[in-house]
């Protein structure tokens, strides 16, 4: 009995105990006070998001009862409006929206239950399961890919700002001037190329990029790396009779780079701009000159001063980068035939009208973004003295 009670309300207990823990710690620590405030704000935003999502789902035509009855209809039963209404009443769809929203939120906060998917005929949690994690991993991999490229190249690009093409300083020897001029022009060209690439990231949106790559495969006459596995490996288990299936892994990697590259692409382009702007901004500050005046130079100067100081604003944007990446995922999923949560979302929205499923996916994405924002804020406040000063006061 008691076990059942706790099993049905476990999530609430976790949320509440984290909250009280933070509140208790925050009594005499400004930092934990801040964390507690941030935590409550995150929960509030989640509540609002669930409201937004619910309103949105109300806009979608049709409902589960109709779908279900229509399904039965195909089985040869004749259905009347009365049946539909009875089914609605059974599913609780005749209740006003606010009531359904409240019950959805209650179920969710009590035990993480996100409702019932009528197109899949199982609970949303089960229907989503792995697919959500798959999408999550795609997005994270794309983000890592984007950062791995954007950060070094953005910094490189920042170097080239404020340089002139030719060195006319008469205090330099002719050879020095030549070498400097060549160096400066290469930097300028490099900068132009990087700018062009980052603009292309916007002008060649993900779905076009995916198409282009597919087209290249068509020309080369190779099989297209769409989906996640080739046909021969699709039904091979990861752990077969002969132990771990390396062939499947190989095949998987051969396919997975495409979605990661494609969805990481525009994030990379945008991030390049951001990194560049941030580093340029920092390197114009007086403390960089002051460090130079103390004899700090070369990599120690760049890495230790402007770059180090642009990290935290960069980290701060991770949550919204995730948003951007997931935003693009559904279309890419359609183009290259993925079967992750994004594809499910499109299916639920445009084909099966499965509101509960679509709402759950959107809510989960928002949940990921909000928790990312929460964690980056909290971590930055802990490690970056500037952030600490601005959020905690001094």
């Amino acid at each position: 009995m008691v076990i059942e009670f706790f099993a049905n309300t476990w999530l609430l207990w976790i949320l509440v105990s984290v909250g009280t823990g933070l509140f208790w710690l925050g009594r005499d620590s400004q930092y934990f006070n801040y964390v507690f405030n941030r935590y409550s704000l995150a929960l509030l935003t989640l509540l609002l998001v669930s409201g937004v999502v619910f309103v949105l789902m109300e806009v979608l035509p049709g409902d589960c009862a109709e779908k279900y009855i229509a399904y039965k209809n195909t089985q040869g039963e004749t259905i009347t409006q009365a049946d539909i209404d009875a089914e609605r009443a059974r599913m609780g769809l005749d209740q006003p929206m606010v009531v359904r929203w409240a019950s959805w939120v209650t179920d969710l906060t009590l035990r993480g239950d996100m409702g019932f998917s009528c197109s899949k005929r199982q609970s949303v949690n089960l229907a989503l399961g792995d697919r959500f994690w798959m999408s999550f991993l795609f997005c994270m991999a794309a983000l890592i890919f984007a950062y791995l490229i954007a950060v070094p190249f953005g910094i490189l690009s920042a170097f080239t700002i404020n340089k002139t093409w030719t060195d006319k300083n008469p205090q330099h020897t002719p050879t020095e001037r030549l070498i400097n001029s060549i160096g400066m022009s290469t930097q300028k060209v490099l900068d132009l190329v990087l700018r062009l690439v980052s603009y292309l990231g916007l002008a060649l949106p993900n779905f076009l990029l995916a198409l282009t790559i597919i087209l290249l495969y068509v020309f080369a006459g190779e099989p297209m790396p769409t989906g996640l596995y080739s046909d021969e490996y699709r039904n091979v288990p990861w752990f077969g009779d002969n132990g771990f299936s390396w062939g499947k892994l190989d095949d998987f990697i051969g396919h997975i780079w495409l979605p990661i590259f494609v969805i990481g692409w525009s994030a990379t382009a945008l991030q390049l701009q951001t990194v560049r702007a941030l580093v340029v901004d920092e390197s114009n500050k007086l403390y960089v000159d002051a460090a130079r005046a103390r004899g700090v130079d070369g990599i120690a100067l760049w890495a230790g001063y402007p770059v180090r100081h642009s990290i935290s604003p960069l980290v701060n944007s991770i949550g919204f980068d995730y948003n951007r990446v997931f935003n693009d995922l559904p279309i890419v999923a359609v183009v290259i035939g993925l079967t992750d949560a994004a594809a499910l979302l499109i299916e639920a929205l445009s084909m099966t009208n499965d509101q509960e499923l679509a709402a759950a996916i959107l809510f989960l994405v928002a949940l990921v973004i909000i928790s990312m924002n929460f964690f980056t804020d909290v971590i930055l406040a802990a490690i970056d003295p500037r952030v600490r000063k601005s959020v905690l006061g001094n």
Binding site: Q171, L286, A291
Partner: protein, 576 residues
Amino acid sequence: MMINQGVSSRLLDIRDLTIDFNTDEGLVRAVDNVNLSVRPGEVMGLVGESGSGKSVTAKSIMRLTPGNAVIQHPSQITLHHRDQDINILKLRGRDLRTVRGDQVSMIFQEPMASFAPAIRISDQMIQTMQIHLGYDRDQARRAGIELFERVGIVNPEQRFDQYVFELSGGMRQRAMIAMALSTKPKLLIADEPTTALDVTIQAQVLDLMLELREQMGMAMIFITHDLGVVSKIADNVTVMKKGQVVEAGSAEQVLFQPEHSYTKRLLDALPHLEDLPEAPKKTPPPLLSVKDLSITYPLAGNGRKTEYFNAVKNISLDLPEGQIIGLVGESGSGKTTLGKAMLGAAPISTGHVQYHNTKKKVKFGADKAIKRKRLAKTAQMVFQDPYSSLNPRMTVRDIIAEPLEAMNITKNREETDARVIEVAKRCHIDVEHLRRFPHAFSGGQRQRISIARALVCNPKFIVADESVAALDVSIQAEILKLLKELREELGLTILFISHDLSVIANLCDWVCVMKHGELVEQGTVRQIFLEPQEAYTQKLIASIPLLDSPEGRPSNTPELVHIAERPVCSEARVGV
């Protein structure tokens, strides 16, 4: 080797330095044929206003000129180091460290901005010592803490590991000095090190620099626009204007027998305590009375209970009519809040403000709402920042006409234009310029526009909030002259808020001193500057960097022309 410098040896020699900047408008000359030399142990005061090229000159010594600067032939900067002449302009790569930190270090104007905000001061200082002295971490740390102690930082061990924003303004500049001294340089370049500080802290920092210079015997280039500060610290003075040296010589010569008119103008800007204006026989009746005024702001705290900040604590004050009243205080003393409250621009918690002798009664306070238009016709404000106080999207004519149009004072456009032109002429604004936009004007001209706007509806009272703080000394003088004229001709009452005591002394008739939201003392300018009663006022007055009278210095004899050739650590100069 460095203990006994030859009498004629020079530490630094700048010859024919010419620097151009590559800008949109082509090459712009920033420094024009400057010659300057510094002997070991000498303090060279480099004086000039913004844009005079003094900072660029100093930066070129460390090769820190910005990327678009071109150092023209035949400029030469030579540093004498270990019996060798080093041509600084020819240094490359790692060799640059000789002038960057090793032999030369620099103190910047903004200590807050010149420390990296997210790195502990200790780490930045240790890094510097590791680069130049080859210390290991522990050694550098001990040396750093020792230096912190030496520059007078309380709790050096604790402060050493803090971030720059955790220190107060004065502490920051001390830390900056400790940092600059950590590599034991032979030449210290101080770029306006005291300008951003409050006057009492400025005095402390100056004393510290003098003391350290005695102890460590390094030479110093002290850049400032304030001749009072220079007179306290410099042996020799070079005055620059528009990239050129206009006057150079020993401090006594430049300060007491100036030859160039520009130097004389700079000297005029200093307070002249000996000829302060006489107080009028009887105090005029008050124009404005402030009764029991308190202003409290809620602090945007993160704590669970809101805290309040008392910006102004229970002040009662009468402002005499037709006088210029100075309101002095250090930053955070609540002087601006008080000034704004008199114009109804700050929320009054208790008390009230009342204007006398107005056509209609103007009185407002905690329980009495403001009649905005009546007040606007009586009292106006001139702001501190000449940039943000003028709407960049309106022409000068529209800006000046704003009060007339907003309150429908004039009947038609012609009348408005006539009034605007009249006021513009009175404030020495070229009538031709009325159709220009504010971006076409310099700070001083903008401040004139701001004054014209305040005057256009014939107010009786003007609050000038730090109105000359952002301007150069010579332009300051023009604005101050204008304010005096207006007082004489229009019988205006002006409340002049400033942290700068020299400006107050030159301008005001009556002075109020504020500290932490309280009125400490008030009186005529003579009373306050010559016979201050309260301890705080005395401290404040004592900290003004006045020109030391010639008697205070070693007497003005021919010998002083060769002042720079005196031994370095002259005991006679301690405690000047």
